[in-house]
């Protein structure tokens, strides 16, 4: 059961602001989704290994070779806040 508090907590984790008035509605919608998926519990999965990846492919590697990086200007191009070659954020402790 997803509660209003869960919704608010997950909203905080994802840094999404959730209006208190909406939280109840989201909780009930999310519970509907979960209930829907619960139908899967009826399937017998004994002896079935979990699927972590849908493509049957392993060990896709690259060689340990360094290539040129972006320039500092290029790296900072998309930010609205930089200082002396650094990205700048609000105060973090």
């Amino acid at each position: 059961m997803i509660t209003k508090e869960d919704v608010e907590h997950v909203g905080w984790l994802a840094r999404i602001e959730i209006d208190e008035n909406d939280a109840d509605e989201y909780a009930s919608q999310l519970n509907d989704v979960l209930n829907h998926f619960e139908q899967l519990d009826e399937v017998d999965t004994e002896n079935v290994p979990p699927t972590y990846h849908v493509i049957d492919l392993v060990n896709v590697f690259r060689e340990d070779v360094a290539r040129e990086s972006l320039t500092q200007d290029k790296a900072l191009e998309n930010t609205s806040s930089s200082k002396e070659g650094y990205f700048k954020s609000y105060r973090i402790i």
Binding site: H53, V58, V60, D64, A66, S69, G85, S89, I92, I93
Partner: protein, 473 residues
């Protein structure tokens, strides 16, 4: 006798080791050589977390991780994969860290360390691969900081997080463990401990009857010992006053030497791990035999070999193998001069002088060590002078023979002294007669005359003996 631990201290460590000897980062081809670069000049769309970029696993990073796992006596897992660990922090541009979760690449290992009652086993729970976040800096001091600056040059560096079982019983033991771990990993040539941020430690610590706290931000082995000593004292004080130690994450302030609680908001995480869909699983257990073959001789094995091959003392063998560079330095020296003598000069003298100056053995040349030892064994300089030469080289540079010449450290040849003594006896009839008449003082005068002739480079005690010898013949 059991190690004294009246407070029931239990310590477990998490050690982040940067695989900084690779050429490229964990999931992209940016260079690992960023320590002297301008900020944010060593990044690409992958390690900046730009949308649409695709990580690809560095094969050598995986093999390096396997090497470490095997050297720590771990099992390598049959199949593994990467997960996303979700949290928001500016050092993590994607909003998640790619790491391993339920199937770490290596698990169930151990390291044997020295403790006060002999050997002590610290079990390794697991070692998993992950990417390093970027580096954050505060503008101004941390309390009044106006903002945070971020450099993503480090972002995406291959890390190995090694987690011990809570088998460590004192801050001193934790330091020994960390020293040994660093030594082993350096032997594997997958990491250079001299680089900034190469090895970072978090410690979990509790006392009997109390909750466990986690101390983060420990950047040196000395720091680990200090942070743990502080934390033990803090927890003891709380318990003595009848209080309760709360489970929390604390930050070690290296400058002040204390730990500070973090606001619980930041300490509590709900990481929502899920398999990283952009990476394929790893199935590398079949490479274990191949990787095992690439393992070099490890510290314990090398110590045994030094004991049997060179016949040195246990203490010397330990001192010489506790750092791979020192062991290599010693073996180079031992090719040219007597191994036992070399062992003593490198382990007892050079290492001490280096430690005192906080230098590594790279600060001294093998050829200089050889020539100094040769000068001593050929009786050209005294042992005391040899130590002086080593100090001069470390403090001011220069070559051994030049330093010996410039400082007049060459021992005066014995026959020169002997000649000076004979001459002095011939030239000072009066003093010689006085000596035989029982005037002890006249002997001092004669010694002084010999010293004058040899310009002070003869050993006064030897001169006195020689004089008495010759006079009484």
């Amino acid at each position: 006798m059991a190690e004294e631990n009246p407070d029931g201290v239990v310590i477990g460590l998490e050690i982040h080791v940067q695989l900084n000897k690779l050429n490229s980062k964990m999931f992209c081809a940016c260079s690992t050589d960023y320590h002297n670069s301008e900020p944010n000049s060593n990044t690409c769309p992958v390690c900046l977390g730009l949308p649409g970029s695709l990580p690809v696993i560095n094969e050598k990073a995986v093999e390096s991780a396997m090497k470490v796992g095997l050297a720590l006596n771990c099992d390598i897992v049959e199949q593994t994969q990467f997960h996303r660990k979700n949290y928001f922090y500016p050092d993590l541009p994607k909003g998640f860290q790619i790491t391993q979760y339920d199937y770490p690449i290596a698990n169930d290992g151990k390291i044997v360390i020295e403790s006060d009652e002999g050997e002590h086993v610290v079990r390794i729970k697991r070692a998993h691969m992950e990417e390093d976040p970027g580096r954050m800096m505060h503008i101004g001091n941390i309390e009044k900081s106006k903002g945070t600056l971020i450099d993503y040059n480090r972002s995406g560096m291959a890390l190995l997080e090694i987690v011990t079982e809570p088998d460590i019983r004192s801050p001193k033991e934790s330091r020994r463990f960390l020293d040994k771990l660093r030594n082993i990993i350096e032997y594997l040539e997958v990491f250079d401990s001299n680089l900034e941020g190469a090895m970072r430690v978090d410690a979990n610590i509790s006392l009997q009857g109390g909750s466990r706290t986690e101390v983060k931000n420990i950047s040196s082995h000395k720091g680990a010992e200090r942070a743990l000593l502080y934390e033990i004292m803090r927890q003891k004080n709380i318990m003595r006053r009848g209080g309760e130690v709360t489970m929390e994450t604390r930050h070690f302030d290296e400058e002040k030497g204390c730990t500070v609680g973090l606001r619980s908001k930041e300490a509590e995480h709900d990481y929502r791990y899920f398999p990283e869909p952009d990476l394929t699983p790893l199935r590398v257990a079949d490479r274990v035999p191949k990787v095992t073959k690439t393992l070099p001789e490890l510290p314990d094995a090398k110590r045994e070999r030094f004991l049997s091959q060179y016949g040195m003392t246990e203490m010397h063998a330990k001192a010489l193998t506790s750092d791979i560079r020192v062991s290599e330095f010693f073996e180079e020296v031992a090719k040219e001069v007597d191994p036992k003598t070399s062992a003593s000069w490198v382990a007892d003298v050079l290492k001490g002088e280096l430690n005192y100056r906080e230098l590594t053995v790279d600060a001294f040349k093998v050829e200089d060590m050889i020539s100094i030892i040769q000068m001593v064994t050929q009786d050209k300089i005294t042992e005391k002078s040899a130590v002086e030469v080593i100090r001069q080289i470390l403090d001011y540079g220069g070559k051994p023979d030049e330093i010996v010449r410039e400082n007049g450290l060459l021992k005066v040849e014995e026959d020169v002294v002997s000649k000076a003594v004979t001459e002095t006896i011939q030239e000072n009839e009066q003093a010689v007669n006085d000596y035989f008449a029982g005037k002890e003082k006249s002997l001092n005068y004669l010694v002084g005359q010999v010293m004058k002739k040899t310009r002070g480079r003869a050993d006064a005690k030897e001169v006195r003996e020689l004089l008495v010898d010759k006079l009484n013949k």
